[in-house]
């Protein structure tokens, strides 16, 4: 990696961290993501799972859809734009997002910390570089990891310290509610 590249990556990862912070303030999982094309941010995203009640609304997917909107507005060829862009995200993309990024044709993903729960770039499974998936998902993508890893982890820790407001109640809680049903209107 050229030194110039690295300083670029650091600048963009800082922006991604700001987006993660914003997601945290909106009680979403604090992951921040941006897609950069020729030194221009063409799409950003934060997790929107709780707001949309759709568990696939990860930061990467939101950013991809912003890029698609921009391509439509500016009459750009989507394929060409994605294939010359870099995606920055604070946490390793999950196996779903890794599959999505391959299909969109992104060549490079730069991320902060590993994702031991869902990681699709090697932490749990390696969707990013599995050559057997090329026929169905398109080419593999490269990854650079570890930039602002600690900061990304800290944001996640902050989130999981509080409770995810949309996560299902524990069984114990449900039982109490059932038992008191007559008192509830």
């Amino acid at each position: 990696m050229h030194q110039e590249d690295e300083s670029h990556h650091i600048v963009w990862m800082k922006t991604a961290l700001c987006l993660a912070q914003k997601a945290l303030e909106q009680q979403e999982v604090p992951v921040g993501c941006l897609i950069v094309n020729k030194d221009r941010i063409i799409g950003t995203g934060g997790n929107e799972v709780n707001r949309t009640k759709n568990a696939t609304r990860h930061a990467e997917i939101i950013a991809i859809e912003e890029v698609r909107d921009l391509c439509r507005r500016e009459c750009l060829v989507e394929r060409d734009v994605f294939s010359t862009s870099i995606l920055y995200v604070t946490v390793e993309p999950c196996a779903m997002c890794a599959g999505a990024l391959r299909q969109m044709g992104l060549p490079l993903v730069v991320y902060g910390c590993d994702n031991d729960r869902f990681g699709g770039c090697g932490s749990v499974i390696d969707v990013a570089s599995n050559p057997a998936l090329t026929d169905s998902l398109g080419p593999c993508f490269d990854t650079i990891k570890g930039i602002f890893s600690n900061e990304a982890v800290d944001l996640l820790k902050n989130f999981y310290k509080g409770e995810n407001p949309n996560a299902p109640n524990s069984k114990r809680k449900l039982k109490v509610v059932e038992g008191q049903e007559s008192n509830h209107k």
């Binding site: 949309t52 759709n54 779903m96 699709g120 169905s136």
Partner: protein, 314 residues
Amino acid sequence: MTAKARLEAVLADKFIQNVDTCDVFIANIADKKQTSRIMRQLSELCPLEKLQHLKRIRASTEKGMPLQIVVHKPIGPDSYQAVLEIVKTVEGLGKPYLAKVPSTPPLTRLQYNEAVKYWPVNFHEDKEIASMISGKYFTDPELLEIKQFMKMAIKLAHAGKTRDQIPIGAVVVNPISKEIIAEAYDLRQAGYALQHAVMVAVDLVAHSQGGGMWNFDEIFCELRHLKRSATENTESSSEYLCTGYDLYVTQEPCVMCSMALVHSRIGRVFYGSSNSGGALGSSYKVHCQSGFNHHFLVFKGCLQEQTDKLYDDS
């Protein structure tokens, strides 16, 4: 009957893999009457540790031969000496020698039958897994219902095809209330590469809960989701993503869709045709991948004769 014959549980590799073996030192017991004392001494001197599934003693296969007992698992190049030392302190044991034993507990009858060819083992059969393997997991009425829902998915695949889409259909069902929550088909050919049938279905489920992200073109009029009144929606706030729901889909989901189902906490998945890029049995087993925080049951081959026809020419 055909559905019964074809529906196959996609089990984790640990249930279908061959029996792995490892070498251990064993020794003969010359005098049977000393067995219980030797057992006691050995269990203190060298517990079986990770080999708890082994029965410590076996009667030799040949008539008139002495009992054999597992002494110790070899650790390194010097372990014969170490084992020899142990054997010396236990009266009534013959010279230690190496034997192959199963290295992990058997999880299925088939593995058990294989394992005991090496050494006697304990076996606690998992009734649920056993019934899945034998194909008796579902009752006939259940199979009939499964077939009905898969037929709906096939219909949706055909509907998609008439709208110039890849013929993959998906139905999300609440198996308790039998309500159809979402009816979807693949929309990739409409311009967005990520709108696979499962991704569309997951978003339609979100719509049924007052969320959702994508607005679908009216041309695709067969796409549907359960509509509840506002009061119903607040009352049924215990709904969370796809928790407890079943998905019927004509083709094995890819890794993106399979992971979307993990995130959505789907209950069970039934699919028809396998797909080399699929991630619920073919290229991965995302539904039982250790590390992921949600696992679910997957059955493949559901009305496969019919779903295969959808993909014959591709």
